[in-house]
């Protein structure tokens, strides 16, 4: 096992990794930027080292600064957390080249799963359903019309290159398709210098369901069930829960089994999350894999009793997993609320400021992972996540009841948070009935959830 781990991240996840190190008797060194000098993790770590200015490109995203910090503080491993350098194959390779261990998949594995398109093909070949669409790129209008007919309308026209919604159009008829192809080609050419397009079936009212997997270095892997992350805003998850209300128990088991079989066959290693879209008819389609610890990992921890971060550290140190699928039991229902410095009444505009008061809720089945303290200044340079409130109950209604009580108890003064949004969501019939789809919040706007219902 490692003696000393460098935590190359900030906020609540830095604290989470620090806690995992403490329980394992591993020394923890925090690498921080100037903006995070006063952070809770910097205060609690065995040692804290400033690696650069607030600008993440010169601190948390600087591979040389992070590795140099690990070397000068005598660490033997680097935990990248999520975001920043966590899925950077070049970084993982450089860490290994300096004789340190990257807590995550090897550079080779990260490389293999780096391209979304290639990963879909790879895992598709190992039995995961992917979203149906055109066979390769669209040659001309005639070919596009034939492929759309075969896929079934509505379809999404997508550029092969780039991202961010540019050159992307949803069409419902052949006439719309022909017009869209022309527009998408010119948009894609202008944005990415590549006008090749393909088609994907458009899934209406879908849900986001993901599967947590753990695979050791010896090809022994298990899944830890799924999480439903359908409460989103512009692809940013706000609430995650498990089990998903969208699938039957048999369907959830099938999803987990197929996911773990596919990633083990494809040679994945370490912690990972496979994301799926689930359509109205409960069909699931693989979209992408995240090769790191996820923000919402506590949902799985509360249902399984397995500490994912210590497990990740053990696997990275070369230990075998040590338990099998049959040893994993799932209990009750867990829900996580991302407490963000965002004003849901004003289009979720991000907020900053000094936290004047912070009281974390408690009681049975209530967990608060947060780096806040009274007097802490929320920096403007990074994401708006202030912490995560995770509740557990023997069933979904009791988890929701605990969620309401815990959200009512949570106090964050000095900075506007989205607490009221979460509280309102727990009284919303769509959420109570488990019918929220990924487009709901964007369609009606966050403010709509804040209006009291009679």
């Amino acid at each position: 096992m490692f003696e000393r781990v460098l935590i190359a991240n900030r906020g609540e996840i830095a604290l989470r990794i620090l806690r995992a190190c403490r329980t394992m008797g591993i020394g923890a060194v925090l690498a921080y930027s100037e903006a995070d000098r006063d952070s809770l993790a910097a205060q609690l770590a065995d040692e804290a080292i400033c690696i650069g200015p607030a600008d993440a490109r010169r601190s948390y995203l600087s591979a040389s600064a992070v590795i140099s910090a690990a070397i000068v503080t005598g660490c033997d491993a680097i935990h990248p957390g999520y975001g920043f350098l966590s899925e950077d194959a070049g970084f993982a390779e450089a860490v290994a080249a300096h004789g340190l261990t990257f807590v995550g998949p090897s550079a080779e594995v990260l490389e293999r799963f780096a391209s979304k398109e290639a990963t879909r093909r790879l895992l598709g070949s190992h039995g995961l359903p992917t979203i149906p669409g055109s066979d390769g790129m669209l040659l001309d209008d005639e070919h596009a019309l034939a492929e759309a007919e075969r896929t079934g309308y509505p379809v999404l026209v997508k550029p092969s290159a780039g991202g961010g919604g540019k050159g992307m159009r949803m069409v419902r008829t052949p006439r719309e398709l022909v017009a869209a192809i022309q527009i998408c080609r010119s948009e894609a050419r202008a944005a990415f210098g590549d006008d090749s397009l393909y088609l994907e079936k458009w899934l209406e009212d879908n849900r986001h369901v993901e599967v947590q997997v753990v695979v050791d270095r010896y090809g022994h892997g298990i899944h830890l069930g799924e999480r439903d992350c359908s409460v989103q805003r512009r692809h940013q998850k706000l609430i995650e829960e498990a089990p998903t209300p969208a699938l039957s128990e048999a369907a959830r088991e099938e999803l987990g089994d197929r996911a773990i079989r596919a990633v083990v066959a494809a040679g994945y290693e370490n912690l990972g999350t496979l994301e799926f879209l689930v359509d109205r008819d409960a069909n699931f389609y693989f979209i992408e894999i995240n090769c790191r610890i996820q923000v919402e990992h506590p949902v799985t921890e509360l249902r399984t009793g397995i500490d994912l971060v210590t497990t990740q550290l053990r696997i990275a140190a070369g230990e075998p997993l040590g338990f099998s699928q049959a040893d994993v039991t799932f209990a009750g229902h867990a829900i996580e609320f991302r407490i963000n410095a965002e004003d849901a009444a004003r289009d979720f505009r991000s907020q900053a400021g000094i936290v004047e008061r912070f009281y974390a809720p408690g009681g049975p089945g209530v967990r608060m992972d947060s780096h806040l303290y009274a007097g802490y200044e929320v920096p403007t340079y990074y994401d708006s996540l202030l912490g995560k409130l995770i509740v557990w109950g023997p069933d979904r209604p009791s988890a929701i009841a605990r969620g309401r009580a815990a959200l009512d108890e949570l106090v964050v003064d000095g900075v506007i948070t989205n607490r009221a949004f979460h509280r309102a969501m727990l009284d919303n019939p769509a959420f109570i009935e488990g019918r929220v789809t990924t487009n709901l919040v964007d369609r009606v706007g966050g403010a709509a959830f804040l209006t009291p219902r009679s």
Binding site: E34, C50, P53, A65, I354, G375
Partner: protein
Amino acid sequence: MARDHGSNDARMKERTPEERRADHAAIDRLADELLPALVAKLGASGLGELDVREGAWRVRLRMPADGRAARRAGGSSRGGQQPSPMHATPPAHAAPSTRSSSPAPVADPDPGPPTRAVATSPAVGFYRPRPDRAAGARVRAGDPLGAIDVLGVPQELTSPADGIVGASLVEPGDPVEYGQDVVEIELLGAPAAPPPAAAPATATRPEAG
């Protein structure tokens, strides 16, 4: 409102009296007109940072995480970490540290003009001093004092001001973090005093901000 100024020290020397007079006029104008206007503009704009260049001058204003911070300064519980409210101090007299959110350099016991500056580490790594820049050596702003070894790649540690190399705060070969105080520089009189040596080489220093 935090103040963060570009390093003008390198451009402040090797100037003719006319140029120096022009500099002082520019400083006065900056302090009296430009800065208050920029502060107001930054406050109203909702931007996090403003970066303005005019001639050889560069001024950067950065909003703290919350605009209220400036009004609350002094009463905050953050133990002196809070950047001080904006003062329209001429950049030439400013502390050379590039750290905007950290306490002032250690050596500043009296309220008069600073007599000492500190070279801070540009990176995290191991400190390698230059043998020819030991204590007592005369240096100009921007002169290398040594390097920080970052994974075998040296990153220059430069003098923040004209002066004489003073005490070293870090042993050779010791690890340093980003922004750490490494070497003290004893300043040579007021900024308007004649430069210690007129080497034309540094006069060609690029004007990049």
